[in-house]
Amino acid sequence: MNTLEEVGEFTQIFDALMSLMRKFLFRVLCVGPIPTNISFIMDGNRRFAKKHNLKGLDAGHRAGFISVKYILQYCKEIGVPYVTLYAFGMDNFKRGPEEVKCVMDLMLEKVELAIHQAVSGNIKGVRIIFAGDLNSLNERFRAAAQKLMEITEENRDLIVVVCVAYSTNLEIVHAVRESCVKKCKNGDGAVVLEVSDVEGCMYTSAVPDPDLVIRTGGGDRLSNFMTWQTSRTLLHRTEALWPELGLWHLVWAILKFQRMQDCLQKKKKLD
């Protein structure tokens, strides 16, 4: 019994020490500009499972979820206002039906867990928004996602956009349909669609455009993720798989963003 308490104490002391070191590190980091919206393309879960011989179709994705929790905690501590996560794209439905079902069940389980935590007050200040074609998902998930969005609506410390059943091309189609419906009601004149009309009807209209996109898994492509919103965004890729993404990867990406910020500002004026 004593050993367990000691271990418990040791873990607490260790956590407190780590937390203090992180605070110090983030204070230094915050001297420079911090991205307003960081987007993560979470690639590499299955490769991680294969690498570590984990059993089960969703083993890699479970490991990925642990990574999500840590990253969100770090972003909250740094003070990043918005985080976007690419959880499941429309093209991922092309995968094997067992794997798709596994991933969907895992996401449902985590959403329901998040609802419990939100109700009991464990998720303080985090607002969760689901972006994507939720109508193509099953009823239970849709209901759970809706409930989680409602419960966390008032929180403002960190706004997390989870992209599920998302692809930019479909988002644009959806935005065009919505703005057509709005504009075609107004009189008989020619329909003039503006960028603001289309952007206002997008799934991600509630959040600003990403300043930094981090893609794990070594791939160098956008995979139909926010190609509209990331036209001026810094694209950072890392060879680390998503469950391997840690504090230092995040810090390195932000430092890179800070280094490029001068050029980015100049380019924004010139471009």
Binding site: V173, C180, D220, S223
Partner: protein
Amino acid sequence: MLSLRVRPPTSFDFRRFNAGYLERRWRLSRDCFLSFSPKFEENRGIKFGVRSSKSDVAFTAAEEEETLPEELQAELMPKHVAIIMDGNGRWAKNRGLQPWDGHRAGVEALKEIVELSGKWGIQVLTVFAFSTDNWIRPRIEIDFLFSLFERSLKSEFQNLAKNNVRISIIGDSSKLPKSLLRVINEVEEVTKNNTRLQLIVAVGYSGKYDVLQACRGIAQRVKDGEIGVEEIDERLIEEELETNCTEFPYPDLLIRTSGELRVSNFLLWQLAYTELFFAQELWPDFGRSGFIEALTSFQQRQRRFGGRKS
């Protein structure tokens, strides 16, 4: 009165002697004697310059061997390559030259890449020449860019037509000077049946503008009752985009030079599954070696398009 004479560099700049620069100077001087064509057998008779027939044969053999470097595999070549030609201004500044000298060097680099693309089996090459966001650059630079573009088109289009290259221009042409528009229309008309390589030059273009103009067309058709709102889908938008002028509208590979890690509003819709390659060199230095590096990197990548490669 504006002087466009090149100022000689005041200090020894060893960056001039990088491989890309030397190779390009050599090619430029070689092209003075030879016509801009891979088919040397046909043109052998009309070559002029001090060359013996033996060195002609040796030279032709070397040109033919250049067809595909050993690092690249013919079956894995991308069908459509898009390039953001960034870094002309910085290249000129590094050498103490004016920005327009950088753009001129950029045109030479582009000629080389077009030639290589035609030889190596790439079907479509899209280049980002001028963005809608570039309109805020100084007027003098914009005027120079358009006059350079016009001159390049006039001087090169015979060669490109002979090499079976089709030229298409995409972008918002409403603000372009009329003389340039005339040349563009003529060039597009003359080369429209060519099949070896399609060179798409994006002038006054941006990805958002392209999608928006497609959506406006669709919205007007909905208003006119031609189609219903529920019939709007991805295929309809694809048909309205300006890249519908080609059989392969989706680039397989996007190359951006000068080390910038952004897409800068180029080809938004079409870039969904495009492999991105960011080259450190500035565009005028990019050349053959940079192109081979980009293509080698592309050929080593595993493309899944959202699915799984088990």
